[in-house]
Amino acid sequence: MGGGTRWDTIVIGAGPAGMSAALELARLGLSALVIDSAPLPGGQYFKQSTLRAKPPSEEGRSLIAAFARAELGRLMDTQVWGITPEPDGFEVAVYRKSGGERRLWARTLIIATGAYDRPVPFPGWDLPGVMMAGGALTMIKHQGVLPGRRVLLCGTGPLQWVLARHLLEGGAQVVGIVDAAPFPWKALRRLTALMGQGERMREGLGAWAAILRAGVPVHWGKIILRAEGADGVEKAVIGRPDGTSTRSFAVDTVCLGYGFQPFNHLARMIGCEHRYVAPLGGWVPLRDDWCETTLSGVFVAGDAAGIQGKDVALLEGRLAGWGAARRLGVDVADDQVKALGAQLRRQRVMAQFLSYVFPYPFDSVPFPVEDDTILCRCEEVRVGDVRRIVREGASTLRMVRMLTRAGMGLCQGRTCADLVCHLLAQETGTPVADIAGPRISPPLFPIPLHGVIGEEAHVRSEN
């Protein structure tokens, strides 16, 4: 195992869930190390700009400040790539470009790896200029650079409105916002009632002012159908999922905001049982009331356990921190737990409501793809390649991967695995929930050969 600190808990992810968990552990006098692959803590919801000139954002400011002050270990710019269970804890393998310890050790783990934008395939989605809404938002909001000048937003839900506002403020032309959901007449009253609760709702609805002022047309009940262009996107076509009621836009950028999917890869890799829950974004870990997974001592909190938003992440982080503390013999007062439980229930209800009003449309309609549409971007595997293999008898994601190479590229299947699952579900008539993802083994991320080696100079064989 080697020398080095033995932490009570290693928290993987320094977003709202991770930071909240770590703060609770510190408060309870336990030793916690927080690891994040980003240069600065904050995750996605509280992302901090790397731009030195940018003032720290208001969002999450007090949390980030508390996190910086607390008695905690913190390792930024550090990529976790493997975990080895040991008799009374876990060894965590990490890679840091600037060097440092390569193996860390903790008695418990809290996985708070968050989520990432959910890609959607369509003809032309591989053209430069087609990008995720989250990436576009980071570019304009945190880096002060417009991702494009004539932008079409296609997706569903409030993230698009926030992005639209930032783009407009940055001087871009937003040619349209296309929401897959029908106009939420029935939900309108409840939505406006929610406006006062939850920062995210406030921000989202607040963006409407900018959108209405700028006269940005909003199209409901429509999806992106295709993008066209030579060296980059020049034209985008939207319409109803059945291909009717189409409209074209001259654009240089298309932002896709079709929701998020949990970054569940680490928890899956170490063997936590997962199940498929569509409204939560896909495969989520089975957890008890303390956010503990089916692996004793391993907790998952926040969006990595299902897309429920920042407020749920903050609460789950605390809960997971308490769960880990209990495992380590430190109890938390009952009334505190009850109070948090009540808050959590409320926030979860709100998150569920949002995902009900703005569901991922492709759980019920097929992707707008043709045979020659790329499905696996890294290896350029096309929809037709997958369809052919399925016709020839392959019915599992793993078989599709083995025979077409879909998922074997640099992104390690994070972009296409869910897409292939949905396509397989459509082609075979099997529910997506019954299509198992392929096994995930270390390394969790591509790591240079020199970076995976442990501290020892040699790796000798053992008797």
Partner: protein
């Protein structure tokens, strides 16, 4: 109930699938039952090497390798599906004088038997592999061997077998078998019971578990073997590399690494092998395995340090106490065959599976296969 199928094959890796193909070619009504994905066990985990110079030097194996390679050279056309078949050079790196002597003898025997193998001293090796760190190496044995894509290799056999009428079923585990009086009576899956004609168990490391269903055993053991693949490496590597002290490094150890690699058509390196002694069949690879293989690889090729590891995996690999395959009818049984634990599987099965299919239908194999017979374990006992 008369059997619907003449032959039931349990196990859908390259061994079972190639046998199913040859049975179907002969017109035998064949069903193959694979619990998971076709080729999804040990077959999917191998590097796709058609080894030529590393196997046993008995006339049987030498013949099978030569004939197998010849068959492989046209097999893509024969099966109607490409599997990236190609011939490459193989350097078996030699780190000790005693292995140099052993390999000098081996090279002579191999060359005399139609598998040209030359000894390459350190200087020559360095010229052939400029990026290799030859420190501590005396040189290498060099021969030509094959490489293919194991997924497509399995798929090629599966599709060809299907076209010829075989019933190939993935996702179909065998959950029970009934036997009486030295006969397998039936084979059960969750949905169906198959009345047995001939039954072959070609399930690699899973074979003992299946044979236990009818109270039978065979000494097929397994280790857990791990490998990984890198991103496309931009360095101009082409030859397959392995260590001559593989068995010395691995044998008797709880866990050990002996490094080797094959170069994929797109330039990625498929790196082997971290081996762990185990009683449990499991999948996936470990931090230890990835780190160990990387360390050994960089000791040989320091210039690769920035190339990224992309994906690791691990499977059980089957072996027998004498490292010879198990092929043939189970002694004391009328209709039960076992086929597996081959050492040089890919180069030999294109011909061996043809013979085995024939054997199951009463043909005499062209060469005496008693070296591989399961009966040898009863004899030895």
């Amino acid at each position: 109930m008369s059997p619907t199928y003449d032959v039931i094959i349990i196990g859908g890796g390259m061994i079972g699938l190639s046998t199913a193909y040859h049975l179907a070619r002969r017109g035998a009504r064949t069903v193959l039952l694979e619990a998971g994905e076709l080729g999804g066990g040990t077959s999917a985990a191998c590097s796709g090497r058609a080894q030529t110079i590393e196997g046993h030097l008995d006339p049987l194996n030498l013949y099978l390798v030569r004939a197998g390679l010849e068959r492989l050279s046209t097999l893509e056309d024969e099966l109607g599906h490409a599997f990236s078949w190609r011939m490459v050079g193989y350097f078996c790196l030699i780190p000790s004088p005693h292995l140099w002597d052993t390999w000098t003898q081996r090279a002579r025997i191999l060359s005399e038997n139609g598998i040209p193998t030359v000894m390459v001293d350190r200087e020559e090796l360095q010229r052939a592999e400029p990026l290799l760190n030859t420190a501590g190496l005396l040189g290498a044995a060099y021969g030509q061997e094959g490489l293919l894509n194991p997924f497509h290799f399995c798929w090629a056999y599966a599709q060809a077998a299907r076209r010829l009428g075989a019933d190939i079923r993935a996702g179909t585990p065998v959950v029970g078998m009934k036997a009486a009086g030295g006969r397998v009576i039936s084979v059960e899956t969750p949905a169906e019971r198959f009345s047995a004609g001939q039954v072959m168990v070609a399930a690699g490391a899973w074979t003992p578990k299946l044979l236990a269903m009818i109270g039978e055993t065979v000494p097929i053991h397994f280790t857990h073997a791990e490998a990984f693949i890198t991103e496309r490496a931009s360095l101009a590597l082409r030859n397959t590399i392995g260590m001559a002290d593989f068995y010395e490094q691995i044998h008797g150890k709880q866990r050990a690494v002996s490094v080797g690699f094959a170069v994929e058509p797109d330039g990625a390196l498929l790196v082997t092998e971290a081996v762990t002694r185990t009683d449990t069949i499991r999948r996936g690879c470990s931090v230890w395995g990835v780190a160990g293989m990387a360390a050994h690889l960089l000791a040989l090729y320091p210039g690769l340090r920035k190339v990224r590891v992309l994906r690791g995996w691990g499977v059980p690999t089957a072996f027998t106490p004498d490292d010879e395959p198990v092929v043939g009818p189970m002694p004391g049984w009328e209709n039960l065959f076992v086929y597996g634990a081959c050492l040089e599987t890919i180069p030999t099965i294109p011909v061996l599976s043809d013979w085995v299919a024939g054997m199951m239908l009463g043909e005499e194999p062209p060469m005496d296969l008693s070296l591989y017979s399961p009966a040898r374990f009863a004899r030895a006992a």
